[in-house]
Every structure is written in C-alpha cells, then in structure tokens.
Amino acid sequence: MNVAVSLETAIAARDERRAEAVIECHGLRLRAGERLLVDGLDLQVHPGSRWVVLGPNGAGKSTLLATLAGARLADGGELRLHGRPIEAWDAQTLAARRALLPDGWLDPFAATVLDTVLTARYRLGEADAQGGQVARGWLARFDCAGLVAHDVRSLSRGERQRVAIATTLTQEAPLLLLDEPIAHQDPRHQALVIDELGGLSDRTLIASLHDLNAAARLATHALLLTGRGGWVAGPAADVLTAERLSALFDTPIDALTIAPGQRWLAVRPRR
C-alpha cells in the first residue's frame, strides 16, 4: 500500500514537472540522411528561459528547431510540448503555443510588408481586430516601421530578416524557436535584435546563433551540438566557457575580460 502511494506521488510529481516544462526531450535522436546529428538528447526547457543553440555548420541546429516546432518527426526518443507528445498536437493549436523563424523566410510573390506579417495571425481567424496593431507594434520594435507599406521583395536581406522576426512575434506564441535571428544584420541591428529578444520576459526562447558574444549576452541556458551525436546542455555560465567552445568548434577561443564583469569571447587568429 505504501509502495502504491509513493508510486502515485512519484507519478504526480513527474506529471507536475512535465506540465511545468514547456519542452521536454528524452533520448531524442536526429538524423540527416546517413549522418547521426544528435543522439540521446535529454532537455527540459522551462518557461521564461532563453536557450541558445551553438554548434558547427551542419551540426543539426536547424533540424533540432524544426523538430521542436513539430514540423519534422524526430528519428528516435520522446518529445513533449507542455507534457503532451508533439505529434499529438494539431497544427492550429500548435500555432498558438509556438512560433518558428526558419532559416530562410520565403516571399515568393509581391505583397506588402504588413500583409506578410499578418499571415502570422492565421490561427486567429478572419475576425482578428488586433492583428494590424500587433503587427505594426512588432515591426516598429525591430526598426521596420517605415517599411510597412513596402513590397517585401524590394527589401534587403537584413530588412527581410527583421520583418520575418516581427512576423514570428506577431503570432503571439509563448514559445519562440528562432533559427539564426541575427543573420544578415549590421552591428547596430544585431545589438537591437539581441536586446529586443533578451527583453521578452514573458516568452520562452530557443535560438540558434553563430555569434558567441551575442549568444553569451542573450542566453540563460545553452545547448552545444557537436554534429556527431554529442551534446552539452546547461546554464549558460557553465556551458559557454572558452574550453568547451574551443573544443566544440575545434578552434582556439579565448575569454577576455574587457571591463569588470564583462567577458569577450574571441577566436584566436590562426597565425
């Protein structure tokens, strides 16, 4: 009897833990063709945390994000969103819970920036009174206020990327999966995007990045993918160290102190 009660308590505690975690992976395996990218990944992502995914080219960052978004099935293991297996969610409910910024946003035909951003309101149906206001708000925060009426195809790569980020946020999903959000951004807009993303206290974030210092600034947690199955996950302070990053990218990386308490991760020149 005691055993049964303690088992019940354990199950209840586990269910509670699962409900708390936005995303929970157990033994997740990802493949690309013959290559084994990620093996046995255990991950718990809690609300409000900001995870950064780092790894060399082809390590499986985009594949992982697409899998977490439910757009692709895992090649093994378990993946739960709010405690429920990801494949059990239907597309529309899923869209209310998570948004994904893919690595190349497609704008196949002429459309205004505003209409493009408003595609993210699909899940809210035809009678969506707030859509325009929300879309304009996010466009303004990512320095695209002046582009609202422009044709998306007339924008530069960097501008299109920020429009895509605004689109992802206009979906108003609590979980954001961002594949290289600062791609094509000049230094000012890189800082702007990272600061805006870092300021989203009511969202949970998982973003892949190549810029180590942007990663360090944004992350509360980090996941390193080797691309050969290996991975390291944990609080940013424990994971984003010069040693681990040097090993991950197979290139010497130094942590320099540039001001009291401010660290700079620098790739050592080869010669």
């Binding site: 209310a96 946003w105 196949p108 979906q171």
Partner: protein, 335 residues
C-alpha cells in the same frame, strides 16, 4: 501592379459572364429567340424550342465547363506553386480522353463515353499523386526546399503521364475504324455539340457552385500554403489536409468538365493567369475571378465556334486555344 480595386473586379467579371451568356443565347442561325426565355409556352413555340432545347443547355454547359476547368487550373497552380500546372499539362485531360476512347471503341454510347472520360481523369490524377505521394503529402515538412522539389516532381510526373496518354491515344486512333474518326477528333479537341441535355447542364452548373464553395473554404490556408509548406504549417495550417481536399476538388472539377465538353485546353491555364494579373494572389478573390473568366472565355469561344463558319461547327477547344495562346504569349512577353 494592376491591383487598384480588386474587390470591384468580381462584380465586373460577373457582368461580363452574364453578357457572354446573353450573347450565346441570342446568337445563331435563328434570330430573335431571346424573348422566348420569358415565354417558354407562348406562341413562338419553335423559337422557344431553339432556346430551351438547343442554346440554353449548350450555353450553360459551356459556362460550367469553363468555370470548372478554370477552378481546377487555379487550384493546381496554387497547390504546386507553379504557373505551368493545369489539368491539360498534368495529363488529366489526356487520361480522360483515353478513357472516353476506350469506351467508344468498346461500343458504348455517349453515356459510356462520358463515364469513361470521368474515370480516365480520376485515374490519371490518382496515379499522379500516388507517384508523387511521398513528396507531396509526407509528414516530413523539413526545409521549404523539399516542397519546391515536390512540386517539380509532381509536375514532371504529370508531363510524362500526358505524353503517355498521348501515345495511347495515337495507338487507339490507329486502330479505330475510319467511321468514328471524325467524332473522336472533335471530342479530343473539345466539343460542346453534344451538350443538349438541360438537366445535365444544370447539374454541372450546380457542381461548379458546390466545388467553388468547397474551394473557397480553403482559400485562407491556401494563401499561406503559397508561401511555403514550412511557414504555413508553423502558422497553423494543416498542410496535408488542405492539400488532400483541394486535390479532390480539382479532380472532381476536371472530371465533370471533361465529361461535359471533352478535352478543352488552355482555359484552365489562361484564366487563372489573366486573373492573377488583375486581382493578385489572394485566393479568396482569385478563385471566383478565375471561374467567371473561364466561364466567359468558353462561352464566347463556343459562340464563335458554332457561328463563325455556320452551318459548319468548329470544336470549341480549337477556339479556346486560338484565343488563349496569343493572349497568353502577349502576357508572358510583358513579364
């Protein structure tokens, strides 16, 4: 872009389609039949017969066939994200022709031929999407790149199926008795001379309305699907369900149209292209606009077909191509 007032395009197109209908009813070797429309049992009984038994069924058939072909064409172009797609290019019309020919050679009458063409259309679309099934309906949404490859795969498969049906048709033509050659040729080119059954025409028209309504319920998700599978799925579109429904709608539309009017070409291709220039890419407007444009095009083409060299009648498919091809080339040149 010529998208100044897209919402005003639909009423204008509806008027154009109605005017084409009036023209089709009023034009022919017997003049002044139009008043009989409001007086079916009046003293002008022979005029009423011309109108109710000849021109009205034929005009409604032309309207329905044009609308259905344009609907199927715009859906296939949107689903495959490729402006080249239509029932003709994808081999569906060819498959229907093979079905009709086989029925004809087997000695069945008109009904058997129509049944054969419907079966042929369905069989070809089924073969098409079965062959390209994994790419088109797979659970693996993956990168958007994959979806682009999928539509190219479906399109290439369709072009090959069209070539195959063309070969089978040539074979059947070589084997067919000379006496049947002329009716076969007309059917292959698309012909409305056999459309004299008012009830069948009205049934096809009802079918057009139902299929357009069914497609219209999927217009919003289709708008997102046009931007890529991955984006559409992320934003909440059940990609596979929308695809399955719309493929079914376009198969039913093609089969009905081919059953009614034979293998009429270019309508399903040209009408959506013309309308895209006018109203843009919003499927909520584009689908009804294409249907009206396709209906008007076939109506006008058929009116010319039966009056241009009267008392001889031309196959309507020849006229749609004769009108459609120059229009289309002038469009492409301006792209």
């Amino acid at each position: 872009m010529p998208m100044a007032s897209p919402r005003r395009v639909l009423p204008v197109l509806a008027l154009v389609a109605l005017a084409s209908l009036a023209l089709a009813l009023a034009t022919g070797s017997v003049p002044g039949v139009l008043p009989a429309l409001f007086d079916p049992a009046g003293d002008a009984a022979s005029l009423a017969a011309v109108l109710w038994q000849l021109r009205l069924p034929r005009a409604i058939s032309a309207f329905a066939a044009g609308g259905l072909l344009a609907l199927a064409g715009s859906l296939l172009q949107a689903l495959l994200r490729n402006p080249l797609a239509d029932a003709y290019v994808l081999g569906v019309s060819g498959g229907a022709a093979v079905g009709a020919m086989l029925a004809l050679l087997a000695g069945t009458g008109l009904l058997g031929m129509q049944l054969g063409s419907a079966l042929g259309a369905f069989a070809t679309l089924a073969a098409l999407f079965l062959l390209a099934r994994r790419a088109f309906f797979g659970r693996l949404h993956g990168a958007a790149r994959v979806a682009e490859e999928a539509s190219t795969g479906v399109l290439l498969t369709g072009v090959m199926l069209a070539a195959f049906s063309a070969a089978v048709l040539s074979l059947l033509l070589a084997l067919a008795p000379d006496a049947q050659m002329r009716s076969i040729m007309f059917w292959l080119l698309g012909d409305l001379a056999g459309a004299t059954d008012l009830r069948a025409a009205l049934l096809a028209l009802a079918f057009l309305v139902v299929l357009l309504a069914a497609a219209a319920t999927q217009a919003r998700p289709l708008n997102l699907l046009l931007r890529g599978d991955l984006q559409a799925f992320v934003q909440g579109v059940d990609v596979r369900r929308v695809r399955r429904r719309l493929v079914l709608v376009s198969a039913l539309a093609t089969a009905t149209a081919v059953t009614l009017a034979g293998a009429v070409g270019f309508v399903g291709f040209v009408a959506p292209h013309l309308m895209r220039r006018l109203v843009g890419n919003d499927q909520r407007l584009l689908l009804p606009a294409s249907v009206l444009a396709g209906a008007a095009l076939v109506l006008v083409a058929d009116t010319i077909a039966r009056t241009a060299v009267a008392p001889l009648q031309l196959p309507v498919g020849v006229l749609t191509a004769l009108i459609g091809v120059p229009v289309f080339i002038s469009l492409v040149r301006r792209l």
